[in-house]
């Protein structure tokens, strides 16, 4: 049985990736063709011609005036996926239409609904408003992961690994040593993991971007809305500086680290990452530094998880993992994902 939940919204791309040219990406095992119409909207449909399955994103297929012409036999489709012309005959078969997908462009992402179209509700798409807020500056990227998406969820829900895998970048001893609080709101579909370090070493990622040095307060608040969107609300402040009673927090630095975890196939994942900050908004040097640092950190995860995927894919079934306190949030996420995928949650918690 698939571990990938269907009837869900997933991030397929950044909006800036899709222009008035053919763009293909596989999401949840489905090859999907995108382009931005001349009116500016993103359209999405199957990337396989109904005739002989030739990929419509593949040259010599081409886009002509908001219609895609198959490069093999010339089947031509409109932006709604309906075939408007076939070679050699005037009658177009009624069934000649590509599967089309509902898409929503929001918070810099192109979200796509995978599953029953009748169940798609754009109001359920989780938000990441910082990525397009004028009060924040954002850097972003996407790295391909040759591992199942659940391994990235495990990774991001337990940040104690920063101390070991990302030492010298974002990891310091306090991350692994500080207890966490975990909350689950089943109704809202949220897993929340808080790690508030009130006296921690400032890692290079934050020292060089904020200018703070020595000991700092470092709060990490994870808000994961399965299956796709993960947000790390990161607060960096001088020792002893707390938010004001009215919620304002002028003496702290805020970084919103956002991941979109999109299964490509059962065993590969699109790892979208973005870092939005509310300081040094116009400092290109800070943008370049954070982009380079975060990409490096993501690639450290990618290298580790690619190895882990190979290990898991080749080991006998039934391996019993050991979970400890740091895994409290990760286990909650696994259970919610298994429920969404229609799996037995207890089985998934012990071994996904």
């Amino acid at each position: 049985m698939s571990s990938i939940p269907r009837d869900q919204w997933y991030v397929a791309a950044y909006g800036h990736e899709i222009g008035q040219e053919l763009f293909s990406r596989t999401v949840c095992g489905e090859s999907i063709l995108f382009w931005r119409t001349r009116a500016g909207t993103v359209t999405a449909m199957s990337d396989r011609c109904v005739h002989r399955r030739f990929p419509l994103s593949e040259s010599p297929s081409r886009l002509v005036d908001d219609q895609v012409v198959c490069g093999y036999h010339g089947f031509t489709y409109g932006a709604d996926g309906v075939c408007v012309a076939v070679p050699g005959q005037t009658r177009v078969p009624r069934t000649a239409r590509l599967k089309s997908y509902q898409v929503v462009e929001q918070d810099s992402f192109v979200w796509i609904w995978i599953g029953d179209p009748a169940k798609a509700d754009p109001a359920r798409i989780p938000r990441a408003p910082w990525l397009v807020s004028p009060d924040y500056t954002t850097v972003c990227g996407m790295e391909p992961l040759k591992a199942r998406f659940g391994l990235l969820v495990d990774n991001l829900l337990d940040l104690s690994h920063e101390t070991y895998l990302h030492g010298g970048y974002i990891g310091t001893p306090e991350v692994a040593a500080t207890p966490i609080t975990t909350e689950v709101d089943e109704e809202a579909g949220i897993v929340y993991v808080s790690r508030h370090m009130d006296d921690a070493e400032c890692p290079p990622f934050y020292a060089k971007s904020t200018g703070l040095t020595g000991r700092i307060m470092r709060w990490q608040d994870i808000e994961y809305t399965p299956p796709c969107l993960y947000k790390l609300h990161s607060r960096i402040a001088p020792l002893g500086v707390l938010p004001n009673a009215d919620g304002s927090d002028p003496d702290a630095f805020h970084v919103e680290v956002v991941y979109a975890i999109t299964p490509e196939t059962e065993h590969t994942t699109h790892d979208f990452w973005a870092v939005a900050r509310d300081f040094a908004l116009d400092d290109q040097g800070v943008s370049d530094f954070l982009a380079e640092q975060n990409r490096t950190v993501v690639l450290q995860d990618v290298a580790a998880l690619d190895v882990l995927e190979q290990v898991i894919a080749t080991e006998p079934a039934g391996y019993q993992e050991l979970s400890i306190n740091i895994d409290t949030g990760g286990l909650a996420a696994r259970r919610m994902l298994a429920k969404l995928a229609g799996q037995n949650a207890a089985t998934a918690a012990s071994r996904s």
């Binding site: 207890p179 949220i190 608040d221 607060r235 009673a245 009215d246 805020h254 979970s323 895994d327 409290t328």
Partner: protein, 78 residues
């Protein structure tokens, strides 16, 4: 939007009607699970605490929470 209480203890971040909460008790290796009804259970690991929490709420009515659900960032007003 209201902010979280100005405390360093991140013990209440979500404000929904049926929030399950697990706090790693300071200075120990124990986990304190709290059901949305207020019942608590101390466990020695995450598997045990989730098993208890997920079994416990069955059959009882969640308490009313006066405030609407909201999320805060890591101490920031949004």
């Amino acid at each position: 939007m209201t902010a979280m209480e100005p405390t360093m203890e991140p013990t209440r971040m979500l404000a929904g009607r049926e929030v399950l909460r697990v706090v790693w008790l300071p200075g120990s290796d124990l986990l304190l699970g709290t059901c949305h009804c207020g019942a608590t259970h101390v466990a020695e690991g995450p598997i045990e605490v989730w098993e208890w929490l997920l079994a416990h709420p069955i059959g009882h009515t969640p308490q009313d929470v006066p405030d609407p659900a909201f999320l805060t960032g890591a101490g920031a007003a949004r």
